[in-house]
């Protein structure tokens, strides 16, 4: 469990060249222990730049990032240690698998933490269990497995460091619906069992609506909205203005509203939509 805090965070790429670009500016945010935060935003809105600051991959041009109260860029040693505390799973992480066997690939992180053989083994098995990778696959080459399996192994490689903060950049991109649902379930289970803070970057409004406690919306390098899914998705016009959409159930609820059907509560999942309509249909349908 760890807490992340960004204060006055600003990052400028290619300073002093004709390509100089302010990627993020004046970001102030506190992500408390154990929260599951969804980060959404149009391509180029600054969300990837932001998350790369959280484990010291990028250094702020101005402002600072603190993990559990400590500035993560205060010294080289602290930045080094924070890499184990804040685990970052990149987009298409399966391209980064490189070891001869699945086991060795998952063990790479814990090994770098200089753990004992016994601890490494424990970490690897636990991580594999979280993502649903069968131990029978341990001696196989990760490169010969299916896309969905590779993705899970890559995620296990980060989880194996038992990070207090787990950050995933588009973990479901390119997977089929069943693969997406499994990965989201794995993430929820990991968070529930370990109490870790989880930050999920996603283009899928439906995914974040389903699992996040809180949504942070990026636009033009700044934070545009910050609230519960219910609060954020109750402002559909503003989301559309910055190139985002609302979850499809919310869009249906809005279309119903235009037709004079008022659902009693905010709707952003199919389950909520179905039960809200059922509640209205009571008596008529007898259900």
């Amino acid at each position: 469990m760890s807490e992340i805090k960004a204060e006055g965070l600003r990052h400028v790429y290619s300073v002093g060249t004709p390509f100089e670009k302010v990627a993020i500016d004046n970001i102030n945010v506190l992500i408390p222990h154990g929260q599951l935060v969804g980060i959404i935003g149009h391509t180029g809105s600054g969300k990837s730049t932001f998350i790369q600051h959280l484990n010291g991959l990028l250094k702020p041009t101005a402002g600072k990032v603190c993990c559990d109260g400590q500035d993560i860029n205060a010294s080289k040693q602290i930045t080094h240690d924070v890499r184990f505390k804040v685990g970052l799973v990149f987009q298409y992480p399966e391209y980064q698998l490189f070891e001869e066997t699945v086991y060795k690939d998952i063990a790479f992180g814990p090994k770098n933490m200089k753990l004992s053989e016994g601890e490494i083994d424990q970490h690897v098995r636990e991580a594999a269990r979280f993502v649903g990778v069968d131990e029978e696959l341990f001696e196989r080459s990760p490169l010969e497995l299916s896309g969905g399996q590779k993705r899970r192994i890559a995620i296990a490689g980060v989880i194996a460091m038992r990070p207090g903060v787990l950050i995933l950049d588009e973990p479901t991109a390119g997977l089929d619906p069943e693969g997406c649902a499994q990965i989201l379930q794995n993430i929820c289970d990991y968070r529930r069992e370990t109490g870790s803070t989880v930050i999920l970057v996603s283009h899928s409004m439906d995914d974040v609506a389903r699992i996040a406690d809180r949504l942070i919306v990026f636009s033009g390098g700044g934070i545009f909205m910050d609230g519960t899914p219910q609060e954020v998705f109750s402002r559909p016009d503003e989301l559309t203005d910055i190139g985002l959409s609302v979850p499809e159930p919310t869009a249906i609820a809005m279309a119903l509203h235009r037709r004079g059907v008022e659902l009693g509560s905010a709707v952003y999942t199919t389950e909520q939509l179905v039960s809200a309509v059922k509640a209205l249909g009571k008596g008529a349908s007898g259900c």
């Binding site: 390119g174 693969g179 499809e248 119903l256 004079g260 199919t270 179905v274």
Partner: protein
């Protein structure tokens, strides 16, 4: 309409594999139609697409493209001119340093006259809405823009068919919408036959025909409204149905009688409102 692609008892086994990836596919695709193909990972849908322009040829059965047998090597060039392919990762498909050079690559290789190349490149870039970017560097474009340049490169060959294998998988929602609206207009306005392989149910809604593949076989084939209405089948295949159909399906279990064929948000809302007496 006439058939542009026919597969007859198409079987395919990858070299070194013991089991078949395609286990007997019989399909006839009409010229000018828009067909979407769904299926979970490993269902054989990409393998099928690769047969349409002879990247793969059947181990049993045959594939005819505009009447030409793809297994006959003498037909190879004509088959590839007839069917253009667009793949998932735009970065792997762009070869030149300038957008218009990239689009000109295929017609140059086909030996088209320079003046004609100029005309085709301009027209192709206009069709995908990337004409203003013709002298830009492709690597500085967004994913959706790059993918539209890749599509322009295919259109410049003037193919009769475009097969797209998960062209939106790596794009954000806006890039995805750009690509889908581009291919839809190519089909509707230019009469180009479109075959779209995808994981996104919402991208299938506008197709004429939806084919669902599972374990190397076609398990459903019909209009999107017909196919999505079989909610149990879609779930069995590890697929989902659009949120609209799912909502109608769940409500129908509780005494509503909504048409499962109301696929768009507006149609779904209209059906629900009507059933509530609004």
């Amino acid at each position: 309409m006439s058939a542009i692609i026919e597969t007859e008892n198409l079987h395919y086994t990858y070299p070194g594999d013991e089991s078949e990836t395609l286990k007997g596919i019989d399909l006839t695709l009409e010229e000018g139609s828009f067909t979407a193909v769904l299926g979970h990972n490993g269902s054989g849908k990409s393998t099928l697409a690769k047969h349409f322009n002879a990247i793969l040829t059947p181990t049993e059965g045959r594939v005819l493209v505009a009447g030409m047998d793809t297994s006959d090597e003498n037909n190879l060039l004509d088959v590839r001119r007839t069917v253009g392919m667009v793949f998932q990762n735009p970065d792997n498909q762009i070869v030149a340093n300038v957008v218009e050079d990239d689009v000109a690559f295929a017609p140059e290789n086909l030996g088209v006259e320079p003046a004609e190349i100029r005309r085709r490149v301009d027209e192709a870039l206009k069709q995908v809405g990337m004409y203003e970017y013709r002298s830009h560097a492709p690597h500085l474009l967004s994913g959706g823009q790059k993918q539209r340049v890749a599509i322009a490169g295919v259109i410049a060959m003037e193919p009769r068919v475009i097969a797209l294998d998960e062209p939106t998988a790596m794009l954000d929602p806006q890039g995805r919408a750009e690509v889908i609206s581009t291919v839809t207009s190519l089909c509707r306005e230019k009469g180009i036959t479109v075959i779209l392989i995808t994981h996104h149910m919402s991208e299938c809604v506008g197709a004429d025909r939806l084919i669902v593949m599972s374990n190397g076989l076609v398990v459903a084939d019909g209009s999107p409204a017909e196919v999505f209405s079989d909610v149990e089948l879609m779930k069995r295949e590890g697929l989902t149905v659009p949120c609209t159909t799912q909502t109608e399906y769940e409500l129908n279990k509780c005494g509503f009688s909504l048409p499962l064929s109301a696929l768009t948000v507006e149609d779904c809302a209209a059906a629900i409102a009507a059933s509530l007496g609004k």
